[in-house]
């Protein structure tokens, strides 16, 4: 099976966000594989081990994105592709990303494409379904189970806590939800092997894309931090009294009851 994973690097979840001159500072930030994309990498490896074939991890990013690709290779992916847009595209959006990926997948004959259901930075969740639509293949988002049998797959989809069992044909794009699997940590031999695995770097020119063709359709005009909350009140006294006071405060002061 020809399996692809869409991967994005994101800020480590521990990071605090600092805004300077209307931009988020990323110089000192630690980057990780987007946590939902880790489920995609793990699932791709498992499916390959079961059905044979090859796992290729694809990211759109800059030269620093190599680190996350190497991590995915160390987990067990076979090949990686970095589409480096650093010099070409300033402010792409989900439209831009999906159009670039469409061009990349044009000659790939993918059987299965996996992605995270959302990235924890921009959190739009658009790129997977947009790409599936452009490639004219079916998709299922927020999956928690994937069983492939020949040309069909049985997929479990998380729908706000309930589970839909869906039968769908391949080629297929899925986006991964927590609960799908337990992503492995790269092993030391894995890390050594990853250094020698192929990592191709492409630019928009290599994909015959003109910047204008993938120009964003949305633009961010302002970034700001939420208002700092004033420190709250820790109640005092006998527990029973605290409980009474709390309910009274919620009713009369906060007016949420």
């Amino acid at each position: 099976m020809n399996i692809y994973v869409l991967l994005k690097k994101t800020f480590d979840t521990e990071e605090k966000i600092v805004v300077t001159n209307g931009q988020i500072e990323d110089d000192a930030a630690e980057f990780i594989i987007n946590p939902y994309d880790e489920y995609a990498v793990e699932e791709a490896i498992k499916q390959r081990d079961e059905h044979g074939g090859e796992v290729t991890v694809v990211t759109i990013g800059d030269e620093d994105s190599e680190k996350q690709l190497r991590t995915a290779l160390a987990m067990g992916a076979d090949k990686a592709v970095l589409i480096n847009i650093e010099d070409d595209l300033e402010d792409g959006d989900q439209y831009s990303t999906s159009k670039i990926l469409e061009a990349f997948f044009d000659d790939k004959e993918a059987d299965l494409i996996l992605a995270g259901n959302v990235a924890i930075d921009e959190a739009s969740g658009q790129v997977g379904p947009r790409l599936a639509e452009l490639l004219e293949i079916p998709y299922v988002t927020t999956i928690t189970s994937l069983k492939i049998d020949g040309d069909t797959a049985e997929v479990e989809k998380d729908v706000e806590g309930d589970v839909e069992v869906i039968e769908v044909s391949l080629p297929l794009l899925v986006t991964c939800q927590q609960g799908l699997n337990e992503p492995r940590y790269p092993s030391l031999p894995g890390i050594m092997k990853a250094k020698k695995k192929p990592l191709d770097e492409l630019e928009l020119d290599d994909l015959d894309i003109d910047e204008d063709d993938v120009e964003a359709k949305t633009r961010t005009i302002e970034i700001f931090l939420p208002k700092e909350k004033a420190a709250g009140r820790v109640l005092e006294g006998d527990v029973q009294d605290q409980v009474k006071e709390l309910v009274s405060l919620l009713k009369n002061e906060a007016k949420v009851l």
Binding site: I17, R130, E160, G161, R233, V239, K251, L257
Partner: protein, 325 residues
Amino acid sequence: MSEKILVVAETKDGELRNVSFEAIAAARKINAGGEIVGVICAAEDANDLAQELIYYGADRVVTVQHDNLKSYTSEGFGQAILKVVDEESPDGIIMGHTSIGKDLSPKLASKLNTGLVSDAVDVELVGDQVVFTRPIYSGKAFEKKIITSGISFVTIRPNNISTLERDETRTGDVASIDVDVKDLRTVIKEVVRKTSEGVDLSEAKVVIAGGRGVKSADGFKPLYELAEVLGGAVGASRGACDADYCDYSLQIGQTGKVVTPDLYIAVGISGAIQHLAGMSNSKVIVAINKDADSNIFNVADYGIVGDLFEVIPMLIEEFKKVAVS
């Protein structure tokens, strides 16, 4: 400017979801007095639901009825809504940022070759420009966005934009259009209900969330009881989910759900930065934790330092009294 706006309404268990009424209110904020057209996809007659959309501010409603629209599939609903878009040529589309909205909106945007702003918590008209506000980094920051090309297409986060007043004197046209929904490559074989009846976590006005301090799956029982008294939903921290006290679908945080209820009660939750990202924009936060130094008290409006197994039963009794009075 978006003069004619389609509001794609959503039903759950045969009833309209509140976020659909919020979407109408959002449309009203940005359409400069233009027309708001509700859309309902269903397998059965949806006239009563259509009326309800009109009471909440829609000017008229288009219903699409087909056997293949009994349950949501992106392909089925996609075909239906694209047909409506084709006939109505709207200047904007608004839907809820729900499971369905998240799944369907990127497909429609791709097909319509347009931009899409997902998960907006506010929409406003600034001059002629529609400006969307949305959280990024799970609410650690916010961005304002505009759509530079194509229609105003947005999904809105539940619980953030107030609905308009329900007005039974409002009237409007309800029309049905025919769409042949076909060639579906995805088939739903079964739906396994894991959530309890009632309030969905992302739409709940009250959320009771438990952390590691709850200590066991059994320990969550009083939280469910409290949620029932308050008409709320139960959520959890990652710690509680990892420890198998509850299902991952309840997880609130940077991975997991982001919620903005009127009242968030954090029980036995220490308040890791990843958890705060998922709930710190709640309107009122209450923390109950036996460790007075817990980070959760830094974001809580009200805190009780104490043993949750002692405090929660007392709270349940006290809230019951308020409910009765």
